[in-house]
């Protein structure tokens, strides 16, 4: 089920209306049923996978506490089962294709059947969420839950089931164990967040997608058109993914839950590391805690740190998709972080210097680097990627410059609300708690909501698409 559909609206209203009539255990049972209905709406067999993951992880984490002498074995069972699901559904086709290609290069023509399975939506998200719980239990950071219902609803909590944020037991699971109350002020904010998410998706992301797809449809894209297309993708992917998070967080708030923050204005980043502190924060934190730090983190020699960074980001790239472009994209980010660390030592005046000019320069450099990365992310054909990276800004027809310039101008116009939001954050929104319930706060929120509502109804793109991160 997708958030921007009437089906979801009806589904959510029914769930919401029932939910607040029930006692806590009843609420959990309802949320569990709702989670499976939501997940299996198009392909009911997806639910088998979700249920199996839940049962396996719940059973083995309990065994970790009941039979702690074999703790490591139980953890391995969980990790193997979870990553086997990912390997089978997400990476099997990719690896067999590459294996066949490799064998052919070596002169062996082995008839290995390539099986491409339909990737269940959100499998990477809930698998990671479930794994983090198991590792946390293993590390003693949280305890193995005794209630299957609580755990099952934590894994299948529908607002964040398909595209995150990737939650931790210490944040979300404990909320299931505490009583919840409905609060009108929070509900108002939640509805506003949902509306803002819908505008970001239907107005900004879906419009940007049209122009991005146009630019990437060309077989002979020139420098201005290719890079204007990349900029469109930059706007699309941020508006699209952050919209999903906003709608997820808003829906969860209406049910009395607070999901973790996933974005913090990544366009304002002033270094690659800063970007990853602002972009898909729940995934960055997951890789930091469960891959980078276990590898050694920032301890040891620079070479070792560089290895850790490269490995972490290569895996992060592969998490996004079974394709070489994602691996290259991950490698690009690993390399950028390594180089920026080196720059930090050689040119601290640039990387750490104060002053608006330097900050602007750092921002500009980071923005360009991020967009080069988006080209690798978006372009799935390796020859086309190479061609696009090699396009020259010289000897380009004037019409192509005008078209590129038109695309960029359009993106500036459509992304204006995102920029306004980013710059309002500090002076206005950070202190929102203190004046949300004042008359001025209500009037401002109301005016903004009506403006967003008008924008949604009049500027929504005719063409809509699935959220980009559904495919991961």
């Amino acid at each position: 089920m997708i958030f921007q559909s009437i089906d979801y609206l009806v589904f959510f209203i029914c769930t919401f209306a029932l939910y607040w009539q029930l006692p806590r255990r009843g609420q959990h049972a309802l949320l569990l049923v709702a989670g499976y209905v939501f997940y299996g709406y198009v392909h009911p067999w997806y639910c088998i996978l979700l249920g199996a993951t839940t049962l396996v992880d719940f059973t083995f984490t309990r065994l970790m506490e009941d039979k702690p002498d074999k703790k490591r074995v139980w953890l391995m069972c969980i990790l193997v089962s979870n990553f086997s699901i990912l390997a089978a559904f997400k990476y099997f086709g990719f690896f067999t294709e590459n294996l066949i290609a490799l064998l052919q290069v070596l002169g062996w023509d082995v008839p290995i059947p390539v099986v491409q399975m339909l990737l269940p939506a959100g499998v990477s998200f809930y698998t990671f969420q479930s794994c983090s719980y198991a590792v946390d239990v293993y590390r003693g950071k949280t305890w193995a839950r005794r209630s299957l219902l609580d755990y099952a609803v934590y894994v299948a909590f529908f607002p964040q089931l398909v595209a995150g944020p990737i939650e931790r037991a210490g944040h979300l699971l404990v909320q299931f164990e505490n009583p919840r109350r409905f609060h009108f002020g929070v509900a108002r904010d939640a509805l506003f967040l949902i509306l803002w998410g819908l505008v970001k998706k239907r107005v900004i992301a879906d419009t940007a997608a049209v122009y991005c797809n146009k630019a990437f449809s060309l077989s002979d894209g020139t420098f201005p058109i290719v890079w204007a297309g990349v900029l469109c993708f930059c706007v699309q992917i941020y508006a699209d993914f952050s919209a999903y998070t906003d709608i997820a967080r808003g829906s969860a708030r209406l049910l009395g839950f607070e999901l973790c923050q996933n974005f913090n204005h990544p366009w304002l980043a002033q270094s690659p590391a800063d970007f990853w502190r602002r972009w898909h924060m729940s995934l960055s934190a997951w890789f930091r805690d469960y891959v980078f730090i276990p590898l050694g983190g920032s301890r040891g020699s620079e070479l070792r740190i560089a290895r850790n960074l490269m490995l972490t980001f290569l895996l992060s790239g592969l998490w996004h998709g079974a394709g070489w472009n994602f691996v290259i994209w991950g490698g690009w980010w690993g390399l950028l972080l390594v180089l920026w660390r080196a720059l930090d030592r050689w040119l601290p005046g640039f990387t750490q210097g104060k002053g608006a000019g330097l900050a602007l320069l750092r921002w500009g450099v980071t923005f360009v680097l991020v967009n080069i990365g988006w080209l690798m992310f978006r372009e799935q054909s390796f020859p086309d990627l190479m061609r696009q990276l090699m396009t020259s800004p010289f000897h380009v027809p004037a019409d192509d410059w005008r078209i590129g310039s038109f695309f960029v101008s359009l993106m500036v116009i459509y992304s204006l609300p995102l920029w306004i939001h980013a710059f309002l954050q500090k002076p206005l929104l950070d202190s929102w708690e203190t004046w949300r319930d004042t008359r001025a706060g209500f009037a401002l929120q109301l005016a903004a909501a009506v403006a967003l509502s008008l924008t949604f109804f009049t500027l929504s793109s005719r063409v809509t698409s699935d959220f980009i991160y559904f495919q991961f």
């Binding site: 505490n178 919840r180 109350r181 609060h183 009108f184 002020g185 929070v186 904010d189 509805l191 506003f192 967040l193 509306l195 803002w196 419009t207 146009k214 449809s217 060309l218 077989s219 002979d220 058109i225 906003d246 839950f257 607070e258 923050q261 019409d399 410059w401 005008r402 078209i403 590129g404 310039s405 038109f406 695309f407 960029v408 101008s409 359009l410 500036v412 116009i413 459509y414 939001h421 206005l428 929104l429 950070d430 929102w432 708690e433 949300r436 706060g441 209500f442 401002l444 109301l446 903004a448 909501a449 009506v450 967003l452 509502s453 008008l454 109804f457 009049t458 500027l459 929504s460 005719r462």
Partner: protein, 366 residues
């Protein structure tokens, strides 16, 4: 306003007057968000000349039915052509040249971006309603767009145009478009009401075009908008697209989705009624399949593998019912160099095309 995270433990239970105040505020906010758009955006945007001379049906554009009917009555044409830009970029917007070339009276009713739903209403509510008795009514179509429901439903832009052409009751059209006018159930009534209140197609089209115009002015370095639109259209033409996309773009969209066979597709389309309407005004219905933009080497367009069989079936089906079908797709004398953008013929080749058309049709048309 987007807020910082309120923690779960933070909100104290609202009680008494505060609870009422918060509930009231939430109610007001929801009501205003839902009610303001339909109240503020009543009617269509006031842009009668916005799309004057433009290629496609514009936002809020309508057709002056009485004027067209009066023109048809005054002209009393022998042949009436109906279509979209495929028609006017080949035979012209004015019928004068075709009339001069053939010595017969032509009327051409064309509008860029129009589709089979518009053509059906033009035939029914303009040609037949005018009472004229032409010898033939011909339709200019590409591939299977005459019978493809996908093509008909996908054109939200023409909503106002369609409304201006509709009579109060259009059961055949509504059935074809999948509109459920069964108002018996509460759900369908609610659905119709919601669609009516929250349908802002014209505003969407108008505002998105305005924003496109602003962006073109910002990025166009003083180049006129029309020239920019033209360049844009040409740059994203089929010959610039990646191979697989060009094939997709050029494919008849619904042909691959036919499950019940061609017979069922044709019977479920508007074509049987269009044949009946033509016969009602004493005219033969002639379907003219134009050649889509061809490949530079083969001089033939890409088409789905099922298309030749479909065209063959359509020809037999039409001829068995008194209609005619003419297909220029495989005529290699029409070259890529004759095309301007997409499937449109260059203005400087229009005269040649008019002669080509008349040469082929004069022996076929009654």
């Amino acid at each position: 306003m987007k807020t910082q995270t309120p923690s779960i433990s933070e909100p104290s239970p609202s009680t008494g007057s505060r609870w009422k105040r918060d509930a009231f505020r939430l109610l007001i906010a929801c009501l205003l968000c839902l009610l303001v758009p339909p109240l503020v955006l009543q009617g269509d945007p006031d842009v009668p000349n916005e799309t004057e001379g433009d290629e496609r049906i514009g936002a809020g554009e309508s057709i002056k039915v009485s004027k067209v009917i009066a023109d048809l009555r005054a002209a009393q044409p022998d042949y009436v052509g109906i279509g979209n830009s495929m028609l006017y970029t080949r035979l012209g917007k004015s019928p004068d040249q075709m009339s001069a070339l053939s010595g017969r009276k032509f009327s051409l009713i064309s509008r860029g971006g129009s589709n089979v739903t518009v053509w059906y209403l033009v035939l029914k509510n303009l040609v037949v309603a005018s009472g004229i008795r032409p010898e033939a009514v011909f339709l200019f179509v590409r591939d299977d767009e005459l019978t493809a429901p996908y093509f008909a439903k996908n054109e939200a832009t023409a909503a106002a145009y369609l409304r201006s052409l509709r009579s109060a009751d259009e059961p055949v059209l509504d059935k074809f478009m999948g509109i459920n006018n069964d108002a018996s159930s509460a759900a369908s009534q609610a659905d119709q009401w919601l669609t009516q209140v929250y349908s802002f197609d014209e505003w969407q089209e108008y505002l998105s075009r305005r924003l496109m115009g602003v962006a073109m002015e910002m990025g166009g370095f003083g180049t006129p908008l029309k020239a920019q639109r033209f360049a844009l259209s040409a740059r994203f033409g089929l010959d610039h697209l990646r191979g697989n996309l060009a094939a997709d773009e050029n494919a008849a969209p619904a042909l691959g989705q036919i499950s019940g066979g061609f017979q069922q597709t044709l019977e479920a389309s508007l074509l049987p009624d269009m044949l009946r309407l033509s016969a009602e005004c004493g005219a033969k219905l002639v379907v003219f399949r134009v050649k889509r933009r061809p490949d530079a080497k083969t001089h033939l367009p890409n088409e789905p593998s099922a298309m030749p069989a479909y065209a063959d079936f359509l020809k037999k089906w039409l001829e068995a019912r008194g209609g005619l079908f003419f297909d220029e797709t495989y005529d290699t004398s029409i070259r890529l160099s004759d095309y301007l953008d997409l499937d449109h013929i260059r203005p400087e080749r229009m005269e040649w095309y008019q002669q080509y058309f008349w040469e082929r049709m004069k022996g076929v048309l009654p």
